[in-house]
């Protein structure tokens, strides 16, 4: 395991995370993560999508040095997670799945404690903590004990704690687990702010499809400890077979199938009665072209619809299952239920 840090090849930026054949097994048997390899580029939001027990949290724990990998290796921010664990810890921010703040302390005191654990001088950490509390809109509650916080406030506090050490890379483990729709939207807003305004790289895990879809630049679908597929949300969805346009035409003659299939984006045209069912890439661009062809032949369009494949379908196609809550080990489920219960408090 040589150290891969400096000396990046010309013209190609070194990925901020590089993982090769990373695996974790417990008691030499149960394989929680079974040889995953991937890279995360600086500045992107990278998501691990999969059901409970797929190996998401185990991977994040290995990348943040909380678990020692059984085999393979991972370079995070230029440091080996096993051999240079403290350097990794200093460079990354972590927002764990559980609520870890001390309930008997105020929000501000919690952040300052985090700062102390990073060895940041109080002269810096005090103004910085207040700045971060402003960012997550907790400035009014900063002197209240955390036990009085709502689930959403706790989640935001965890986020602020994860940012106290000026990380280049932020790990978010199930950032919106158990949150209501409104709070979830707020958390998404902060994540976007971090990416867009602070140019932070974000690695998140989730089992909510819409979360992966709306936040991530790239998604790795993980199942049974394996990465099934990596791609942008659009690529994953297109892998299912592209968009579907259904066009209704008033006239039965002439048959337009031949002409429609000449549009370069169209893959397949099926006609049933007066309706044409068209499978295509980039449905938004193909639709006006198809309309033009039909009209230029003097025909009338009676209806038109564009359906985009969802990540659900992509997930189903890749894993053969729908994404749903699954029984994993009792302890993990219980801890997750506790988190969800506290999120709603």
């Amino acid at each position: 395991m040589e150290m891969i840090t400096e000396g990046t090849p010309m013209g190609r930026a070194e990925p901020i995370i590089r993982v090769e054949n990373l695996a974790k097994s417990y008691d030499g048997k149960t394989k929680a993560v079974d040889g995953v390899s991937f890279e995360v580029k600086e500045g992107e939001v990278f998501g691990f999508l999969g059901p409970n027990g797929a190996g998401k949290s185990t991977t994040i724990k290995m990348l943040t040095t909380l678990l020692v990998p059984s085999s393979g290796h991972a370079i995070v921010c230029g440091y080996d997670v096993h051999k240079q664990a403290n350097d990794v810890r200093r460079s990354v921010g972590i927002v764990p799945q559980d609520y870890t703040a001390d309930e008997d302390m105020t929000g501000l005191a919690n952040i300052l404690l985090c700062a102390d654990l990073y060895g940041l001088p109080r002269s810096d950490s005090k103004p910085h903590a207040e700045e971060l509390l402003n960012l997550v809109e907790l400035q009014d509650a900063q002197n209240r004990k955390v036990k009085t916080y709502s689930g959403g406030m706790r989640r935001r506090l965890e986020l602020a704690c994860g940012l106290i050490n000026y990380p280049r890379l932020l790990f978010l483990d199930e950032p919106t687990l158990g949150l209501d729709v409104q709070t979830r939207a707020a958390v998404w807003k902060y994540i976007r702010t971090l990416k867009e305004e602070y140019r932070m790289t974000i690695f998140l895990t989730t089992h909510y499809l819409e979360e992966a879809d709306s936040l991530c630049d790239r998604i790795a679908i993980i199942d049974h400890g394996h990465i099934v597929k990596i791609g942008t949300p659009t690529q994953l969805k297109e892998g299912v077979g592209g968009d579907v346009i259904v066009v209704g035409v008033k006239e039965t003659e002439p048959d337009m199938s031949e002409q429609i299939s000449k549009v370069s984006l169209v893959r397949e045209v099926k006609r049933t009665g007066n309706d044409y069912r068209i499978k295509t890439e980039l449905g938004e661009e193909a639709t006006p072209q198809i309309m033009d062809i039909i009209r230029s032949n003097g025909l009338h369009v009676t209806k038109i619809s564009l359906t985009k494949p969802t990540l659900d379908e992509a997930y189903l196609e890749l894993t053969g299952r729908t994404l749903r809550e699954e029984e994993t080990n009792r302890w993990a489920m219980m801890s997750q239920r506790v988190t969800m219960a506290r999120a709603r408090s």
Binding site: L66, T100, Y118, L163, Y166, R199, L209
Partner: protein, 309 residues
């Protein structure tokens, strides 16, 4: 759980990415990073204060922890009236004093027991120090601490330190209570009190290390309670806290000699009551210091192994 409107989210994402790609704001989250303290001791005091604050901001916890020694002293200590046992045998007052002095090293059993109670509250506080590790693991705080560059050893030592400090303050209060209830203060001196509390602190430090180390891997409090019950009473009864070693059967005397609690109490009785003592003060201090250093070192070494999986 399906996306409500995938094309919508797609659109927002493309536009936002285009808007913000060129600008790079250098503010709150990514400024010049101040130099971080990388010494292995950084964060130690912050972690210790966190635990201590929980304790001193909760007066009930403090009061409840004082009830047990008060019961021991006020009821057990007063009920077990050795003077009346002996006077029932018809001995003269001088003889009674002589018997008590040779048995307990003092003419007042209550004073003898008071020093035992100082050690007892330290033993009980130390036993529960492991519990706070279990709860920190349970509530995720431990994982948060471990994901920061704070040294694993500091996590363990902070638990030991907070427990040692609490134990010391509580035993100080027990001493005040004992004095109020009639402990013999004729042999008290500033140096003696300082020396006695140094011994007691070292004992608290050592025992806390033991219980914290036993709790490092545990995430359920039931097991931890079982460990506390398993070790606590034997450590108390198989020591000179309640009765002098010399009146015990020979086999028990051997056990008492192996129990480090006995050494702290023996030294503290010499320093607070002017009792003759079983061992010299040098031996008492030596044994307790070695005990503390060894157990704390074991705890720190085990933390490197047990706190990462």
């Amino acid at each position: 759980m399906s996306s409500p409107n995938p094309s919508d989210t797609n659109l927002t994402r493309t536009t936002t990415v285009q808007e913000t790609m060129p600008a790079q704001k250098a503010s709150a989250a990514q400024r010049v990073v101040p130099r971080m303290d990388t010494s292995p001791l950084h964060g130690l005091w912050a972690l210790t204060v966190r635990d201590l604050r929980k304790w001193y901001t909760n007066p009930y916890q403090l009061l409840i922890s004082l009830i047990q020694p008060i019961v021991w002293l006020g009821i057990f200590g007063k009920a077990l009236n050795f003077t009346s046992f002996i006077s029932a045998s018809g001995a003269t007052v001088a003889q009674q004093q002589q018997i008590l002095l040779s048995t307990f090293g003092t003419t007042s059993y209550f004073s003898f027991l008071s020093v035992g109670m100082l050690a007892s509250i330290i033993l009980f506080t130390a036993a529960f120090s492991g519990m706070s590790v279990v709860f920190d693991r349970r509530f995720g705080f431990l994982n948060k601490a471990l994901s920061t560059p704070v040294s694993r050893g500091a996590v363990v030592v902070s638990k030991v330190l907070q427990s040692g400090i609490r134990a010391l303050i509580q035993s100080g209060m027990v001493l005040l209570i004992a004095v109020v209830l009639g402990m013999d203060t004729s042999a008290f001196s500033v140096l003696g009190i300082l020396g006695a509390f140094t011994l007691l602190f070292l004992m608290g430090f050592a025992l806390s290390s033991l219980f914290v180390t036993l709790a490092l891997r545990s995430s359920d409090w039931q097991t931890q309670m079982a460990i506390i019950n398993l070790l606590n009473l034997p450590l108390l009864f198989a020591s000179n806290a309640l009765f002098p070693t010399k009146i015990m059967p020979a086999w028990l005397q051997d056990v008492v000699k192996l129990n480090p609690v006995s050494y702290a109490i023996d030294g503290a009785r010499q320093l607070l009551l002017g009792s003759p003592g079983t061992n010299s003060l040098v031996v008492d201090f030596g044994v307790i210091t070695i005990f503390a250093v060894v157990l704390t070192s074991v705890g720190v070494v085990m933390s490197w192994k047990l706190l990462s999986k």
